[in-house]
């Protein structure tokens, strides 16, 4: 279903155009609206399982999403609602999966952030951090075999996820294969409750790029303009044969690890720094300063986002939930094997 969702017109524009900025901004806004709804549904006990939000990371995620074109590959992580939408996820899929609807991408078998449509280039993460990067790299290996010379792949990982062996193996392998892979490290200062100081000892994670022989980029994740510029460049470099790109974006997680978490462990002074700025507010100001949007237009966009979200929620809530009676309870794709197993 995603196959048709990417508009091929998108791509790198440098310097950032109004069109692109507005586009990204609206995905950010929509993501924020979606997530506020998810949070309130969760508080109301309408969602089983956890809810994990990307508040404060929408600029990076949306900017990455809009740099990807039809045919590209995207492996989003937990805080990538904006990127998912920009890459083409339909709103109803977001809510279906959180409700555990039978019609959801995982048919109630998995929830929240684990959704995807891998054949459409939209990968479905498992929980084990770091393990998606090599999968996206492998998809690019396949594309190379198939003679696709234009597609790129992108995936994100948190500051905490960089400590996994899987992260290391995947980037190193992608570098050896010189794959058109963009790895975006979103340093939101915490991995659950664990601050950077307990996670790594280098002064900036971008310093790892040289050690892998890949190109490194840094960006301020609170500034959409910079996100667009840098991610535009990084995706462009990947697309034009310069191998893997490591982009490190700094920001602050403006929410708990999940909605169950009050984040009381966070260093309160961080929110007073540049990192603690709300990228959505910054982007609104920027739009107004540039006269790319005024109050009225912004309000219009907000209303529009809300409406879309309310409609999607209403639709999703009407859908049938997962039903054990309709489960096959069979994990095999091969018909013969499946029937051998089910006979017993």
């Amino acid at each position: 279903m995603l196959d048709t969702l990417k508009q091929p017109k998108r791509g790198v524009v440098s310097p950032v155009s109004r069109e692109q900025y507005v586009d990204a901004f609206n995905w950010m806004l929509l993501a924020r609206t979606v997530e506020e709804k998810l949070a309130s549904l969760w508080r109301a006990g309408k969602i089983s399982g956890g809810v994990y939000l990307g508040k404060g990371q929408e600029a990076i995620s949306a900017a990455l999403g809009i740099m990807l074109k039809s045919g590209d590959i995207f492996g989003p992580l937990i805080r990538d609602q904006a990127g998912r939408l920009a890459f083409g996820e339909s709103l109803i899929d977001v809510f279906r999966v959180h409700f555990g609807s039978r019609t959801s991408l995982s048919r109630g078998r998995d929830g929240n952030v684990h959704r995807g449509n891998p054949r459409g280039g939209y990968h479905a993460m498992i929980s084990h951090l770091g393990s998606l990067i090599s999968v996206v790299a492998g998809a690019l290996v396949a594309r190379r075999f198939q003679g696709d010379t234009t597609a790129i792949g992108a995936t994100t990982i948190g500051d905490g996820g960089t400590s996994t062996g899987a992260f290391h193996e995947a980037i190193n392998m992608a570098a050896v294969e010189k794959l058109p892979l963009v790895v975006v490290v979103v340093n939101n200062q915490y991995a659950y409750s664990t601050p950077n100081s307990r996670q790594f000892a280098c002064s900036d994670l971008v310093e790892r790029a040289t050690g892998y022989g890949v190109e490194g980029h840094s960006l301020d994740g609170t500034d959409l303009q910079e996100c667009l510029e840098v991610l535009g460049q990084a995706t462009q470099r990947a697309r034009s044969g310069h191998g893997p790109q490591m982009v490190v974006g700094d920001c602050l997680r403006l929410t708990g690890h999940g909605e169950h978490d009050d984040a009381s462990y966070m260093d309160k002074t961080l929110s007073q720094t540049r990192l603690g700025r709300d990228c959505l507010k910054i982007a609104e100001n920027y739009l107004q300063e540039r006269h790319w949007a005024d109050h009225v237009l912004l309000e219009d966009w907000r209303k529009n986002a809300k409406e879309q979200v309310e409609n999607a929620v209403a639709d999703a809530q009407h859908e049938p939930l997962a039903d054990p009676a309709m489960e096959t309870w069979c994990p095999y794709a091969t018909k013969r094997i499946a029937s051998a197993v089910l006979v017993r």
Binding site: T164, Y192, T194, W329, P331
Partner: protein, 321 residues
């Protein structure tokens, strides 16, 4: 004052830290946060420098515990969820579990695995990996079913000179309570008769003991008396107690939450029939989770894992044999 299964785990760790300076705890978010489930709540404050937040590096977490154990420490590793221990399995089964055999140096580490399903947890936060780890020589795999056992067995795990996989069940964390923690408990290699009965033996462990007991309550009303054996520890497990129960009832049903192929159930059944074939009047039976990943949606999850209803039905069939 009541104490939950989760609090018992915290208390055991507190006692271990207090009584034995060789003990320290290492795991993600166990310091200030007190762990994803609060099993180490306040311990970092009470024992400065001995409850340490780890990076997201399960392989290195376990590897470092092994090195520390070699030097005489008794580390406890908290995995945030049992499922994430899979990225440390090489250190666990190839390095820790073989160390004594290879070098005659003991490896007293305890790895806590918050295990098992809860509604809405999905395939990667619900796994029961006791059957996986039990397959490997050199590991002790504990599966406490009660608050008391959670407490005394965790203390025992820290004392034991071998690597212990401590499977604590998340479903029981806040649902089970007891009045007061015991000073001592049964040794881990001894099973416990959780309920006496004459008609059928159910062998279970961890959360499934409670499903079995609920089924037994129901069946009692139907005049079927079920004996429930709580294995407590699945590697090694107490075959003697199982055999003597089967000797009395002549009927065996094994219940476990892990996947069916080659799990605790199949090992118990294979052991019973090779050693006590003549004791059985009916084919031994088993109930596991279904052979798929653990589903997210509560209504799927509820059917995926064994329940007291399914257990009761299986017992009725066994009695009709």
């Amino acid at each position: 004052m009541t104490i939950t299964y989760l609090e018992a785990i915290r208390e055991a760790q507190e006692k271990a830290l207090r009584d034995d300076e060789r003990v320290y705890i290492y795991g993600q978010d166990i310091g200030t946060l007190g762990g994803a489930f609060k099993a180490t709540k306040n311990l970092a404050k009470e024992f400065p420098g001995r409850v340490l937040d780890a990076p997201i590096s399960e392989d290195a977490m376990v590897g470092s515990a092994i090195g520390a154990a070699i030097e005489g420490m008794r580390p406890i590793i908290e995995m945030q969820f049992a499922d994430f221990s899979m990225v440390a399995i090489n250190q666990i089964v190839n390095q820790a579990a073989t160390l004594y055999w290879r070098t005659q140096v003991a490896c007293p580490i305890t790895i806590r695995l918050p295990s098992g399903g809860n509604p809405g947890s999905g395939p990667f936060h619900s796994q029961c990996l006791e059957s996986l780890y039990s397959h490997f020589p050199g590991l002790v795999v504990m599966t406490p079913a009660t608050v008391e056992d959670a407490y005394t067995m965790l203390l025992e795990a820290v004392e034991i000179d071998d690597p212990v996989i401590f499977c604590e069940h998340k479903y029981l964390y806040n649902r089970l309570k007891c009045e007061v923690l015991p000073e001592t408990g049964l040794p881990c290699d001894t099973a416990r008769i959780a309920r006496f009965g004459r008609d059928v033996t159910i062998v279970a462990y961890s959360a499934m003991v409670h499903e079995a007991l609920a089924a037994a309550d129901q069946l009692h009303k139907e005049d079927i008396e079920v004996e429930v054996v709580d294995l407590r520890c699945v590697k090694p497990f107490d075959l003697k107690t199982v055999l003597s129960s089967v000797a009395r009832t002549a009927r065996l049903l094994c219940v476990g939450e892990s996947w069916p192929w080659g799990g605790v159930n199949s090992e118990v059944i294979a052991s019973v029939v090779t050693h006590g074939f003549h004791l059985l009047d009916a084919p031994p039976q088993r109930i596991n989770s279904k052979d798929t990943p653990v589903p997210f949606h509560p209504s799927l999850w509820g059917v995926h894992k064994p329940s007291s209803q399914v257990i009761a039905a299986a017992v009725r069939r066994l009695c009709d044999w």
